[in-house]
């Protein structure tokens, strides 16, 4: 269905035959040409008496272009949207709460289509958004105004990260209808949710009737991700959604702070399901880096959960029996504990008072009895409030048991030893239901001493680990919100081998994972908004209306408290994540609209298209073709010009080859582009410095060095190529390999520099492997360290060593005497970062310090460069010096 925005222009269509006639009678403009022999052309009998006529297909083309122009200017609209019938003002009501984010463009497109239609029909329009604006400005009706004026406002609308306030919107609507008593028809783009106020939605719809069109995304569920629960090594995330008919799936991504995906999991949602769970299995170290969870396919704030310290930090306090000697290697109380816990938990030391002054999730008492009084009270309170207290037995504890033990202790027993018949005991497999269940029990772990538990009816259920003879090794008891766990052995290797085994680490890890996170600073401190989520779930600076939040207590998400990060400023400051899923109710659908309401589905962008621009563009194209054709008919379009035009149209920029011309004119050094801009710049500066040095000190004249890409540039103009090997350099492609092989075969020299030799060891780790990669396809001859008499050491200066920025490494040259190439080595391989030593800036100052340093090293580096250039330019010419004594001797004879 096509309608026209300016239909009166179509009246021009009947004029087309007139145009046809005009074009028929007007022959094309002749081409003018000076011609001296015009005299001879005069009065020639013309063989073809037909008048010059524009060919029929040119006529057709022009008529078509004119028709397209007329049609295009009449602004046809294909499939005009908007069926919100009725007359009067068009009232657009838009739910711009958090639930509208995922399909926002569709919603706006529907509203836009309706608005366009109202504009075509000359109806005024008004706009009501139901969510409070930034700064909690209550909803307000904008308008009525001409539809064209409202369009930019509609386009500027963004979904909010907080729920809509339909009651307030209803009030605004009431006020507006009092001022504008005329008729209106409404289009309500609803997110379909009741939010916390289902009645208001119903009332709003009732008030909007009777000319109400309700647009809902019925097929798409509104999803709300709730903060995950930590269970051991696992994070269990729950997804809530509004019920839909079809089963679905959602993918959960755990991201680090820099946005990298750390883990994925998926929710399977059955038909009509409103809740699903997904399990993220993450090692603790990785889990601690999870910064946010989001749904892969959704982009609203409801699909994002920010994870703060509660999900991450597990501070563990360590209390030894005696501070002295607690860290003594191999025998200290805390020696094994610290090593086992350090990789995945934050360890704290200090006395009880100091440890408990800050939030802490696990407290480990290694053979430390608890004194009565304030200490006992503080620890009891810690456990009651959800802390995990882990205790290790020992001589002191065995003497003075205290109430903070899961079991009554009876006695200490010794297994094995000279005075005992019993053998040291092995561990039994962990019982089902124990947090250690599933851990493999190594056979070599034996227990020689332990404290025994007083048998009691509840003992069996408190045992988490047993020895092979059934005596408890680890017992635990729940007290209040917390737990007390007792290891019946010491935390040292004194009583058992357990602390020496990997099992010890795994057990501790599971225990720490059991503990609850730390909720952070409790108190009255206000947390300022640091970062907010916008309506698309992106982290943005907090809106101006966002207000600080009390550190404790429930948060009601609103325009004043948008979801996001709140906290105290500074890097070490405490941050609290406020998530939509934390406080909002599960998404439920609002009531059905009143009878008589037109329903629309938000599923696809309405197919309204303004065809005008396309038609005009087609007309222009045809006219351009017509121009070419008429030029051709007049003979003005030479084939070369046509080819040039066509080339202009389809040309792709080819790699300029102009540098070949330049490089052929003068001698210059080349360097292979590595792809690392900083490194390339250093090498360039180095070669500039070297060229300058060579120009000053020798008869050679080198121009500005140039970069080359083997395989693309012609290498034959360069005597020497500097190839700095990046640690992550990829293998060369076949074209580059062929080019470099050809270069070496024809007498070129390549200086490979790995920049990590000698004193530079470790500066570029991996460069040697990279060198191996890079030179894989190259015809590198067998190598040897540069011998004492090598020409490289005497081509210009006499050099005992060949340092660059670094010194002390080995420099390799070809071993073979290749007569074909004057025995000149095609490669020099080393890692002294010569370019770094040669590099000068625009003012001629050296840029990089030499290692180990000294002016002498720099001078020697330049001298090596001069020798290398001489070697590249003159080959073994200076090698004759080697024979000077022999020649002199012969001359003397």
């Amino acid at each position: 269905m096509i309608s026209f925005a300016a239909p009166w222009l179509l009246l021009a269509l009947p004029a087309l035959p007139l145009l046809w006639w005009l074009l028929r009678v007007t022959p094309p403009q002749p081409r003018r040409m000076d011609f001296p022999a015009a005299m001879l052309l005069r009065d020639l009998p013309l063989a073809e008496e037909t008048p010059a006529r524009t060919p029929w297909w040119v006529l057709l083309m022009r008529i078509l272009a004119a028709a397209l122009l007329i049609l295009g200017l009449a602004r046809p609209v294909l499939g005009p949207g908007g069926d919100a019938g009725g007359a009067g003002t068009l009232l657009l009501v838009v739910d711009d709460g958090w639930a509208s984010g995922p399909d926002w463009p569709l919603r706006i497109a529907i509203a836009q289509a309706e608005l366009d239609r109202a504009g075509r029909e000359g109806r005024p329009a008004a706009l009501l958004t139901t969510a409070p604006g930034e700064g909690a400005a209550p909803p307000r009706v904008i308008g009525p105004m001409p539809a064209g004026d409202l369009a930019p406002r509609l386009a500027a609308l963004r979904p909010r990260a907080w729920p809509p306030e339909r009651a307030a919107a209803l009030a605004a609507l009431e006020a507006w209808t009092r001022n504008e008593p005329g008729r209106f028809s409404a289009l309500y783009l609803s997110d379909g949710l009741a939010h916390h106020d289902g009645v208001a939605a119903e009332a709003l719809m009732a008030r909007l009737g009777p000319n109400l069109t309700l647009a809902r995304a019925e097929e798409r569920p509104v999803r709300l991700l709730t903060p995950p629960r930590a269970e051991g090594d696992r994070l269990i995330a729950t997804l809530r959604q509004s019920p839909v008919l079809l089963p679905g799936e959602a993918n959960l991504i755990a991201r680090a702070q820099d946005g990298r995906a750390l883990a994925r999991a998926s929710f399977a949602l059955g038909a009509g399901a409103t809740e699903a769970q997904a399990v993220l299995e993450l090692p603790t170290e990785i889990r601690n880096r999870v910064h946010r969870l989001d749904l892969a396919e959704e982009n609203g704030p409801g699909a994002v959960v920010l994870l703060d310290e509660r999900f991450r930090r597990r501070p563990v306090g360590l209390l030894p029996g005696a501070e002295q000697g607690a860290d003594a290697p191999l025998i200290g109380d805390l020696f094994y504990l610290e090593r086992a816990l350090n990789p995945f938990a934050e360890l704290r030391r200090g006395d009880v008072e100091r440890l408990l002054a800050r939030p802490i999730s696990v407290l480990i008492l290694a053979d430390r009895p608890v004194a009565d009084g304030p200490e006992l009270a503080a620890l009891t309170r810690f456990v009651q409030q959800g802390g995990l207290l882990i205790r290790f037995a020992g001589a002191r504890l065995a003497e003075r048991p205290d109430p903070l033990l899961p079991v009554q202790l009876r006695a200490e027993r010794q297994l094995g030893g000279s005075l005992s018949w019993e053998q040291p005991q092995r561990l039994a497999p962990f019982p089902e239901g124990s947090p250690f269940a599933g851990l493999a029990v190594p056979a070599e772990v034996t227990v020689e001493r332990q404290v025994l538990a007083e048998p009691s009816p509840r003992l069996a259920e408190r045992v988490w680990a047993r020895l092979a003879d059934g005596t408890p090794l680890v017992t635990a008891e729940t007290r209040g919100a917390g737990r007390i766990v007792l290891f019946h052995v010491t935390a040292t290797a004194e009583w058992s081998d357990l602390p020496l085994s990997g099992l010890f680490v795994q057990m501790l890890r599971r225990l720490v994972a059991l503990s609850g996170g730390v909720a952070g600073t409790e108190g009255e401190a206000m947390l300022a908004p640091l970062e907010a989520l916008d309506g698309f779930g992106r982290a943005v600076p907090p809106p101006p209306g966002a207000q600080p939040l009390p550190a404790a207590g429930e948060v009601v998400i609103s325009a004043r408290h948008p979801p996001g990060w709140y906290g105290t400023a500074g890097g070490e400051g405490y941050r609290r994540a406020v998530n939509l899923g934390e406080t909002l109710p599960a998404p439920t659908l609002h009531a059905q609209p009143p009878a008589g309401t037109t329903l629309r589905t938000i599923a696809t962008i309405p197919a309204e298209r303004d065809l005008g621009p396309w038609l005009l563009a087609a007309a222009l194209l045809i006219l351009a073709a017509d121009l070419l054709v008429s030029l051709r008919l007049r003979g003005l379009l030479l084939p070369a010009r046509a080819a040039a035009l066509a080339l202009l149209l389809v040309s792709t920029p080819a790699f300029a080859q102009e540098q070949d011309g330049q490089s052929a004119l003068v001698t210059r050094l080349g360097y292979v582009l590595t792809g690392d801009a900083a490194l390339d710049e250093t090498v360039r500066q180095g070669l500039v410095g070297l060229s300058d040095f060579v120009n000053r000190r020798t008869a050679a004249t080198l121009a500005e060095p140039m970069s080359v890409t083997p395989g693309r540039d012609d290498l034959s103009f360069y005597p020497l190529l500097y190839f700095a090997v990046r640690p992550d350099a990829p293998a060369l492609d076949p074209a580059a390999t062929a080019a470099l092989n050809g270069f070496m075969r024809n007498g070129g020299i390549i200086l490979f520099d790995t920049r990590d030799e000698g004193s530079g060891e470790g500066f570029a780790p991996g460069a040697r492997q990279a060198l191996r990669r890079v030179t894989q396809g190259l015809a590198i001859p067998p190598l040897m360290p540069v011998p004492e008499e090598h020409v490289l050491r005497r081509a210009f200066y006499l050099l005992a060593e060949l340092p660059g920025r670094f010194a002390g490494g080995t420099v390799w040259v070809s071993r073979e005497q290749d007569r074909a190439n004057d025995s000149v080595s095609p490669v020099v391989i080393g890692g002294h970062d010569w370019a770094g030593a040669w590099a000068v800036d625009a003012r001629g100052q050296n840029l990089h310090a030499a290692v180990p340093g000294g002016a002498r090293q720099r001078i020697l580096a330049y001298r090596f460069g001069a020798n290398l250039v001489m070697y590249a330019l003159t080959g073994n010419y200076k090698g004759d010096q080697v024979h000077v004594p022999a020649i002199l001797e012969r001359l003397g004879n």
């Binding site: 002749p30 000076d34 001879l40 010059a52 003979g635």
Partner: protein
């Protein structure tokens, strides 16, 4: 207006002069080499032959050096020095200032070059050379070529040709001869009445021979002719060729009747062939 433009034109001409003279000399030299071996007399001062002394010869004509080598006396005989005057003319009309392509010379340039090269050859041969238009001096000697070139380039189209041609002089006319046959006939017969014999060389652009155009074209003549619209040029190409051939045949017939020679030359061909033909045609039979 032409007077005002004259100094500027002379300047421009002077700037063109050295390369033109050099080019002309070079072409002339190649033609000289081409005709080498023909027994041509040299300059009047040049040696022609020795002959034995006979009574009556002036003592001053005895070549004493040669005579000293033998027992007899030898007289040094030089070439007969009756230098002929050759008049040179090239068409100064606007239609000559045309070329069909950027890589070609204009017909006028080619005509100048040919004229100067011919003049160079003639001057080397000891002939007198005169221009029909402009400077009426007769030039002699090899060194006169630059002066001749200067005179040629300074010549103005408006000047009436000087018809006071010496008797038995030779006349070389270089131009495109695209006037109607009767006009050419009139000019030719005025010369033939003198009697002057000569050569006509028609210099044409390749496009004028082949008419390589197509489509609807309005042709403008270069000499103020009325424009001519041809709807489809490609269809009249054979007709044009026919007509051009007829025109040339007419000129040739006319020239033959007057005892003149007629040849043609295209600017995309090397000038040597045309020059050689002219030079041979001018040589005494």
């Amino acid at each position: 207006m032409a007077e005002a433009a004259t100094p500027a034109r002379a300047e421009a001409a002077a700037a063109r002069l050295p390369p033109l003279v050099v080019a002309a000399e070079r072409i002339a030299a190649t033609v000289m080499q081409g005709v080498h071996g023909r027994r041509r007399s040299g300059h009047g001062d040049a040696f022609w032959q020795f002959r034995p002394y006979t009574a009556g010869d002036a003592a001053s004509s005895v070549d004493w050096r040669q005579s000293a080598k033998a027992d007899r006396l030898f007289v040094r005989e030089t070439e007969w020095e009756a230098a002929q005057t050759v008049l040179l003319w090239r068409d100064p009309s606007a239609s000559m200032q045309w070329r069909s392509g950027r890589d070609l010379e204009t017909k006028a340039d080619r005509a100048d070059l040919l004229l100067l090269a011919l003049a160079s050859l003639l001057l080397r041969g000891g002939e007198r050379v005169r221009l029909v238009q402009g400077d009426r001096r007769a030039f002699m000697g090899r060194a006169a070529l630059p002066a001749l070139a200067m005179a040629l380039l300074r010549g103005k189209a408006e000047e009436q040709p000087d018809l006071s041609v010496p008797r038995h002089a030779r006349l070389v006319m270089i131009g495109d001869f695209l006037q109607p046959i009767p006009e050419i006939q009139a000019a030719l017969s005025s010369f033939a009445a003198r009697p002057v014999r000569g050569q006509m060389l028609q210099v044409m652009d390749p496009a004028e021979e082949t008419l390589p155009y197509a489509g609807r074209i309005r042709f403008d003549g270069l000499e103020g002719e009325a424009p001519l619209l041809i709807p489809r040029v490609e269809t009249i190409r054979p007709l044009y060729a026919e007509r051009l051939a007829a025109h040339r045949a007419g000129i040739a017939t006319m020239a033959r009747a007057a005892g003149w020679g007629f040849s043609t030359h295209r600017t995309d061909h090397p000038p040597h062939a045309a020059l050689l033909a002219l030079w041979l045609a001018l040589a005494p039979q």
